[in-house]
């Protein structure tokens, strides 16, 4: 079909129009200065999603103690749990977030505002307030791009078990009951400063190193946390026996669950300088505009109380592990 006569009438917008519109957009809105060129809310959503999982499924195990101090959850380990894709879709359709799952409203105690982008490492480190670690070895063609710093955020959720029970009913988890005495109790989550270093390589090759002190989730002691963990696993679609077994062996004080869809993601345990890490691989990742960037990997590990995630579309996973091992 000869359609050149239709194609050939496309025109570039007038440069002055393009410039003035861009300037107008930048100048508009209360958070215009946020727009140094990227959108952080998905990143925050990602962090919150992980924290939500931590809050929902990884309540700290109760230590016997006379003091009524808050128990604390800190990430030291990751445990990958394979779940069914349909179950994830079901949960997504029910807006799995702390507010929906734990029932009560999420109260923001500290909001750092939008993250900031830094062109130079020293300024970013100063903003972060701690010594930011960086890789000394970069995988082929990668070079440092930018550094982003997102401030500390603290939230509090007051538990209301009614929606949780409704969710259990909807997901057909009827043989387990929620521990008594949860209603009205508060959980606080502290999401420390997050630093993201981005790297660009040839073509669509990208990588990002995310690091933060471990998120902390605190709640009053005295709750049957393995039971909550078991319920969480069941909600994720883990079968009854396996959920019961895992709930008994997972250290709920220090283990963050990473649910992955078996059909879409492969995973393996790897060693990062002697620390146990989890390497996730997926067959396709998306660019910001939604096109396919090809296979991608995520490597999660902890070291010295800090949580690291290296993400990218590496040619070979060995390149990724080498880069992760060079972080110091």
């Amino acid at each position: 079909m000869d359609d050149r006569f239709l194609h050939e009438h496309r025109r570039e917008p007038r440069p002055e129009f393009a410039r003035s519109l861009r300037a107008r957009l930048r100048a508009s809105g209360p958070d215009a200065e946020e727009r140094t060129g990227f959108r952080l809310h998905p990143a925050l959503a990602g962090a919150l999603a992980v924290a939500a999982i931590a809050v929902a499924f990884s309540f700290p195990a109760v230590r016997a103690g006379a003091q009524q101090v808050l128990d604390l959850f800190r990430v030291r380990e990751f445990a990958v749990v394979q779940v069914d894709e349909n179950r994830i879709e079901q949960l997504k359709s029910r807006h799995l977030d702390p507010e929906a799952f734990l029932g009560g409203p999420v109260e923001t105690l500290e909001d750092p505002g939008p993250a900031k982008r830094f062109a130079d490492f020293a300024s970013a480190q100063q903003a972060a307030g701690f010594t930011v670690q960086r890789p000394t070895h970069l995988a082929r063609t990668l070079s440092p791009d930018s550094v982003f710093v997102e401030g500390e955020r603290r939230v509090r959720v007051t538990i209301d078990t009614r929606p949780m029970r409704e969710l259990m009913d909807a997901m057909d988890v009827r043989d387990l009951s929620l521990p008594a005495g949860l209603d009205g109790r508060s959980i606080e989550a502290r999401l420390p400063v997050v630093v993201v270093q981005t790297f660009r390589g040839e073509g669509k090759r990208r990588a990002a190193l995310v690091q933060a002190e471990s998120p902390e989730v605190s709640m009053p002691p005295g709750v049957d946390l393995p039971r909550l963990g078991e319920i969480g696993l069941r909600l994720l679609g883990v079968d009854r026996d396996e959920a019961h077994r895992l709930a008994g062996v997972i250290d709920w004080n220090t283990t963050m669950l990473v649910p992955v869809v078996a059909s879409a993601t492969r995973f393996q345990q790897v060693s990062v300088n002697g620390a146990r890490g989890v390497l996730l691989e997926t067959s396709s990742t998306a660019t910001p505009d939604g096109s396919d960037r090809g296979p991608g990997q995520a490597l999660l590990w902890t070291h010295g109380g800090r949580v690291f995630a290296l993400l990218g579309n590496f040619r070979q996973t060995v390149d990724m592990v080498q880069m992760a091992e060079s972080v110091n």
Partner: protein, 178 residues
């Protein structure tokens, strides 16, 4: 990406490269030309492209990459802007809107181009609304048939069939007029 958790982790890293400047530079010509083919050349196309980006800018925190690519999301906004425009005004763009806006070419080239596009705009204005929108998405925005199908809710084969038929008619009229 089908894995919700992995997707979120990936978003944690890749979101930071979501460079609005780059997206703007890439998408503005698409959106602008979508409107040129939809309503004609000139100030109206620029105004509608502006409105689209202003809406997208204000709603940028609502964009969810796990539901749609950025382009798909942006063109959903652009289509709504076009619908609002036609609702508020007339069903077809008046011919005076087809007047060009000065650009880089020489006055002679510009006059020729303008004349050609005016001719095309006149033919496009005679199309039923759905056909004109598909032509604008295909040839103005440069979307694939698959992307158009996703944006409009039509099947990909239906998009192909309608476009084939429409382009055939346009070409015949173009040749006849030329």
């Amino acid at each position: 990406m089908h894995d919700a958790v992995f997707g979120r982790l990936w978003a944690l890293g890749s979101a930071t490269e979501e460079d609005w400047d780059a997206l703007y530079a890439e998408q503005l010509p698409r959106v602008y030309n979508f409107f040129r083919y939809r309503v004609g050349d000139g100030a109206v196309a620029e105004d509608l492209a502006s409105r689209t980006f202003e809406k997208a800018w204000r709603a940028r925190h609502q964009y969810r990459r796990d539901l749609a690519g950025f382009g798909t999301w942006l063109f959903a906004i652009a289509r709504n802007v076009a619908v609002d425009h036609f609702r508020q005004r007339r069903p077809h763009a008046p011919l005076e809107e087809a007047a060009g806006v000065p650009g880089g070419p020489t006055p002679e080239e510009l006059a020729e181009r303008r004349s050609d596009f005016e001719r095309l705009a006149r033919l496009l204005a005679e199309l039923p609304d759905r056909e004109r929108e598909l032509v604008a998405l295909k040839y103005g925005a440069g979307l694939t048939n698959r992307a158009i199908a996703k944006a409009t809710g039509l099947s990909e084969s239906n998009v192909g069939t309608v476009l084939h038929r429409t382009v055939g008619r346009l070409r015949a009229a173009w040749t006849e007029e030329g």
